[in-house]
Amino acid sequence: MYDAPNSERDVEVKDIKITAQGVQVYYGDTHAIKDVSVDIEDKTVTAFIGPSGCGKSTFLRCLNRMNDTIDIARVEGNILLDGEDIYDKRVDPVQLRAKVGMVFQKPNPFPKSIYDNVAYGPRIHGMAKNKADLDEIVERALKRGAIWNEVKDRLHAPGTGLSGGQQQRLCIARAVATEPEVLLMDEPCSALDPIATAQVEELIDELRRDYSVVIVTHSMQQAARVSQKTAFFHLGNLVEFGVTDKIFTNPTDPRTEAYITGRIG
């Protein structure tokens, strides 16, 4: 059920969505990310794996400048989204985040209704001209978040009243409601039970048709199940990056092999 057949894992070359070149991140005196360069393809699920504290979440948060909110964080190097440097002085992080959506480790719906949760993004970005428009956007987002059928009768019930798995899918619906081009997911299943995890993973596989998805995960099995490309981080370094099948079956670097066989991490 979890393991998609190999035929689906097409490894054809796709457009590059995000290019990172020589990225360094410092938290105060700590050098958290050391010279990471990586190309993230469009319409592909890219997984970041690695032991705790290896910098995979930090790097993910660089991709939509969420690190800006941390005073002591400093980012060097270039990150290009469709060829534009997202750390350019002229780039407004608010606009960037509308294009690069994010789903967090813990489901974090706003303490508002299900409808308002999803409608918030489109509202602040002025995406809907009227109520009917907004209704449509909300419905589309909830359908894409694979939660529409469960909540369509109680759109005005509080989002915080849903189960953990439903909340996380609501958060995914909220993230896709603003029509992003890239979806970043920071361990989206770590707070979920196996059934909810399976649902979210299925959803991620579907989202791949429209978005470039980057997922940070602790679980190697999950990376193997959902991703086409995998990046292995260790101690702030990008150790190996390549097609998921190859990383898991025939890693080049001894550290990768040690990690996937369970000897480190």
Binding site: N64, M66, T69, D71, V94, Q95, R97, A98, G101, M102, V103, F104, K106, N108, P109, F110, P111, K112, Y120, G121, I124, H125, P158, T160, C171, R174, A175, A177, T178
Partner: protein, 452 residues
């Protein structure tokens, strides 16, 4: 566990001490716990005891202030004395001062005593004037000036009795003390008793205590808290309008936007320290800055409000920052993650969640300001401020006024024991206001929290 115990089919043999019998160490621990719980109960019991003592003392001493002794007499409003020209012109009649009215009231009381057939050694109208409040004449004059056509008629009045008569009925003035009192004689007390039996002298609920203005030292029976309640309300308005926006804006900036560096650390420490600065320091600061430097009017609720704003700001900032900090960071990331700006994330998500805490803090800060007296001493809001009701909103802010706690302090300070009772009564009114504010705080909190 061991092979031996597994081997036995029944219950394994007990090793060591029994669980049923507590050992000495456990006993000591349990005893210590029981003792500690007893201390706690004792502490709470002591607290409740003192609270009960306090509340019952306030009630017993203060309830009297809400009742006042009145003398019911028909007063003949003599046209020859009140309106000599006879054309009922209010402007003309204003020339007759209260001195013109006093004899009429004394005559009326004398006539009433005789009509009732009360036996008294007091044989003239003048001899009875000690029973009547000095403000009775003003009371009658106000009625006459409001309706000049009453002149020439005999009108029933509820005349305020003097504070000695009132005190006698309330048990404050004893017959034994009267020998040394120049303001009243035993004959007056006898007459009071007689008139009370006839129903002419009686205690009634005294609305004027809640709505009236302060009175001079010798007219305790007339003094009321009403004007200083208004003074307090105008001050609270200033405090609310200034400290809530300034306090909340400062807290939001410090908590959400400001970089954490040495400078903001210093500001933070100073705000905490300011909350502990004695309020009289704010009073002298207000005197120096608002009155001596900015030349704002003395004794004005506006200045009082400004001083109390300075005093309340740290409280509001501290409680607002605490409630902002208690909003989970995941809400902020969620808002930023869908592309909200920092300000949108604060105003759409963080602030509404922090609202119950902010409102509670603000109302408690206001309640503290409402009860504050010391700073008002220094800006001239304590003392006999012979005010009437302010004339409109502007004069409410700018005219000299007192405030509830300042008025209470002023009453407690006065020599006449009749004012002592009024001070306790004032405390009751102040406590009612504080209680109402606290209830509002609780209700607001519930209302905002129940939303989700």
């Amino acid at each position: 566990m061991t092979d031996a115990s597994l081997a036995t089919s029944g219950a394994p043999a007990r090793k060591g001490k029994s669980l049923v019998v507590p050992d000495a160490r456990t006993k000591r621990r349990n005893a210590a716990e029981t003792r500690f719980k007893a201390y706690g109960v004792a502490a709470i019991g002591a607290g409740i005891f003192f609270l009960v003592v306090l509340l019952s003392a306030i009630l017993i001493n203060g309830v009297g202030a809400f009742q006042q002794t009145f003398i019911q007499v028909p007063v003949y409003l003599d046209p020859a004395k009140l309106d000599k020209s006879g054309n009922r012109d209010p402007e003309e009649m204003k020339k007759v001062s209260t001195f013109g009215y006093s004899p009429l009231i004394q005559d009326a009381l004398f006539a009433e005593v005789q009509a009732q057939g009360v036996d008294t050694p007091l044989d003239s109208a003048k001899a009875m004037k000690e029973m009547i409040s000095a403000s009775a004449a003003a009371q009658v004059r106000d009625v006459v000036l409001a309706d000049p056509d009453l002149v020439g008629e005999t009108v029933d009045f509820q005349i305020l009795a003097s504070s000695r008569v009132d005190g006698y009925l309330k048990g404050r003035v004893q017959r034994a003390d009267v020998a040394r009192d120049k303001n009243i004689n035993v004959e007056h007390l006898d007459l009071t008793d007689a008139l009370r039996e006839k129903g002419i002298v009686a205690r009634r609920f005294n609305m004027d205590f809640i709505t009236g203005a302060d009175a001079s030292e010798s007219r305790a029976e007339q003094a009321g808290l009403g004007v200083s309640i208004l003074g307090s309300l105008f001050m609270m308005l200033v405090v609310l309008l200034l400290s809530l926006p300034i306090g909340v804006a400062a807290s939001i900036y410090l908590e959400e936007f400001a970089k954490k560096n040495r400078f903001t650390d210093i500001i933070e420490v100073n705000i905490s320290n300011l909350a502990a600065v004695p309020s009289i320091v704010f009073g002298i600061l207000g005197l120096a800055v608002f009155i001596q430097f900015m030349h704002l009017p003395q004794s004005a609720p506006l200045v009082g409000g400004l001083v109390l704003t300075l005093m309340t700001l740290p409280t509001i900032i501290i409680s607002t920052r605490a409630s902002l900090a208690s909003v989970p960071p995941s809400i902020r990331s969620a808002a930023l993650g869908v592309g909200a700006s920092k300000m949108q994330s604060v105003f759409h998500h963080v602030l509404p969640l922090a609202m119950p805490g902010i409102l509670t803090g603000t109302i408690l800060g206001l309640a503290q300001a409402l009860g504050e007296t010391a700073p008002l001493l220094l800006i001239g809001m304590v003392g006999y401020i012979a005010t009437n009701y302010p004339d409109g909103v502007a004069s409410g802010f700018l005219d000299p006024n007192s405030a509830m706690p300042a008025q209470i302090y002023e009453w407690a300070k006065r020599a006449d024991p009749a004012y002592y009772e009024r001070a306790w009564g004032g405390i009751i009114i102040l406590l009612v206001f504080l209680m109402v504010m606290n209830i509002i705080a609780i209700l607001l909190r519930r209302r905002f929290e129940r939303r989700w």
